[in-house]
């Protein structure tokens, strides 16, 4: 059987081993000297990585901007000023003003909160559903796993953002619904990854030992299987946050996600499309903000993967 990738981006993460199940987290744990915690080793390697730290720095700046938005923002992101519409960047308005005279810099700062919420909440939801499903499917096997995997196959048969769009068409447009839609669209990816990783871990001697010691299945899953696949899952979560932000912004751009006057970057771009021809900055800044945040997440993810995937290190 050919391993199929659930998402166009997830191939990036799997291209090496070709199977999502080939988790190397177990090996990285075994190669660690007993005196050092795996987390500390990972941290030290992370510091050496060329990509992860700049990526993390970018993401942290955005998180800070989001948290501190009310303190930093020079203006109310919703206040119209019809005397000053589409002003180019100046000392008073660093990023200029939009088609309603609102301060773009303030809107982008507040928009950081929305984008981060879109990415983090939807991925947290997706992992909270997908990971247990995948763990059970991988560990139990048999009819349960077969049914779960067929359902996942069906969900994965809707290419790209199509599944999210289908869910929006049922729930109706809006920011909350977009987050739910992106979460559901991400669930099968976590379920399949968790199942694959569980399959490789479940025949390891330490799991067999736990079973021989008479531990309950639930305890084995929680204490022995999950910790050993968590590194793989964490890398995937970072990647998926980046994709979730892009997907939610796309939905908002299409009018299916966050609606005006929310300062969501995709929605801002859609709203200022017609003004773009005379005042390109209205499209430029929300777009650049999106690219930079997602780029930071992708850099961090790529560096993280190299640290947590020892096979990559000699490359």
């Amino acid at each position: 059987m050919i391993p199929k990738s659930g998402n166009r981006f997830s191939d990036k993460i799997m291209h090496n081993g070709k199977k999502s199940g080939e988790s190397d987290s177990t090996q990285s744990n075994q190669t660690v000297a007993p005196a050092q915690s795996p987390a500390r080793v990972a941290l030290r390697q992370l510091r050496r990585s060329r990509l992860a730290l700049p990526g993390l720095a970018i993401v942290l700046v955005f998180i800070l901007c989001g948290i501190l938005a009310p303190l930093i923002a020079p203006d109310d992101p919703y206040r119209n000023d019809l005397m000053n519409v589409l002003m180019p960047p100046s000392a008073a308005h660093w990023f200029g003003t939009d088609e309603l005279g609102r301060d773009l810099f303030s809107r982008i700062l507040y928009g950081t909160r929305i984008s981060l919420a879109e990415g983090l909440i939807s991925v947290a939801l997706a992992a909270a559903i997908g990971v247990p499903v995948g763990l059970v499917a991988g560990y139990a096997g048999g009819a349960v796993a077969a049914v779960i995997m067929r359902i996942i196959d069906v969900l994965l048969a809707f290419p790209g953002v199509l599944l999210a769009i289908v869910i929006i068409s049922i729930l109706g447009p809006g920011l909350t619904n977009a987050i739910i839609a992106v979460a559901i669209y991400t669930v099968p990816i976590f379920a399949r990854l968790a199942r694959g990783a569980t399959l490789t871990v479940k025949d390891e001697p330490y799991v067999e030992a736990a079973r021989a010691a008479g531990l309950s299945d639930l305890r084995i899953l929680a204490r022995h299987v999950f910790p050993n696949i968590s590194a793989t899952l964490f890398v995937m979560m970072t990647l998926r946050v980046a994709i979730a932000i892009l997907t939610a912004a796309s939905l908002s751009f299409l009018g299916l996600g966050a609606q005006a006057p929310l300062p969501e970057w995709g929605a801002m771009l859609a709203a200022s499309r017609s003004a773009m021809l005379i005042a390109p900055h209205v499209a430029l800044f929300p777009g650049l903000a999106t690219i930079l945040l997602v780029f930071g997440l992708n850099l961090f993810q790529d560096g993280l993967r190299q640290v947590l995937d020892p096979k990559l290190q000699d490359r």
Partner: protein
């Protein structure tokens, strides 16, 4: 080969069943009475009852589903609420436009992605390799709609080299195809890169070098051909994602494709068109995956044997 073919076909059937069931249930999952939804916003109670009767919405769900599949197989998806025309007549020409754009974008993605992947793998740790890595990360970080708008601004508005939107000549294909293919270029490039690096460390490559073959022969005849298999899978998947991802690109460039029709139909709550578009895109994706697996089986006999 025949056994491989039948297994793969048999695996596709439950997926198609599930997809059709999901698309059928969409109408019933939307809050409210499906008959009232279909009859439209300004329908009277009698109209709603009429729709319920004629579409059999008063029958059990299982019977309704069979009716839906039966009609869908004969190409009957009902009439569009917006235009009153049969849905299939609305959807098929748009589908052809999306396929045309998707095919061109995929060709671009394969040519550019493979070339940059091969060069960056052969010239590892050079400036080109590092630039390709950063560019492909930027490529997957770029929101499609933003890239499209910026290309439009620069090449259509400022420079005036290319048409703004629509699809009346070949020049209209250039910007949408570049926009649509960017993420796929990045992904194919990274997969080609990783796969070729793996193959270059294989024994048969060392043997080929040891027997004194020219490096170009080693790369092309021994390495690239063996490194192609994951690339074929990814390229097949990308075609599916290009069809789905076309939604955004088509909206930016006012491309008369299926994705744009889908978004317009969702916003106008034109559900028969939504159902038909979603079903068409999902079935195409399943078919493309099946075709990819078959190609895979053809070029790599080891897979058939399993």
């Amino acid at each position: 080969m025949l056994a491989f073919l039948t297994t793969r076909l048999a695996q596709a059937i439950p997926v198609l069943f599930g997809v059709s069931l999901a698309v059928f249930l969409m109408l019933h999952l939307i809050p409210g009475d499906p008959a009232a939804l279909i009859a439209g916003a300004d329908a009277t109670a009698a109209d709603v009852e009429n729709v319920r009767q004629s579409l059999g919405l008063d029958r059990p769900l299982a019977a309704q589903y069979l009716g839906f599949v039966g009609r869908a197989l004969s190409g009957d998806f009902g009439k569009s609420f917006r235009t009153g025309r049969p849905v299939l007549e609305e959807v098929l020409p748009r589908y052809a436009n999306t396929l045309a754009l998707g095919a061109i974008a995929l060709s671009l993605a394969i040519v550019i992605g493979m070339a940059s992947g091969i060069v960056s793998a052969v010239r590892r740790h050079t400036l080109f390799d590092n630039a390709a890595l950063i560019l492909s990360l930027a490529g997957v970080s770029m929101p499609t709609f933003f890239l499209g708008l910026m290309l439009m601004l620069v090449f259509s508005v400022w420079l005036g080299w290319l048409p703004l939107s629509g699809m009346s000549s070949w020049a209209h294909f250039i910007l949408p195809a570049i926009t649509l293919s960017t993420a796929s270029v990045a992904i194919i490039s990274r997969v080609m890169h990783a796969s070729l690096i793996e193959v270059l460390s294989e024994d048969y490559v060392r043997t080929a070098r040891a027997k004194g073959q020219r490096e170009s022969v080693v790369i092309w005849r021994h390495a690239v051909r063996n490194a192609l298999i994951p690339v074929v899978t990814v390229a097949g998947l990308q075609l599916g994602y290009l069809l789905g991802g076309a939604v955004v690109t088509e909206t930016v460039f006012a491309w008369p494709g299926l994705g744009r029709l889908l978004v317009q139909s969702i916003l106008a709550r034109d559900f028969p068109v939504v159902q038909a578009s979603v079903l068409l895109l999902a079935v195409s994706f399943v078919a493309i995956n099946l075709a990819t697996d078959l190609i895979y089986g053809l070029i790599d006999p080891r897979i058939r044997a399993r």
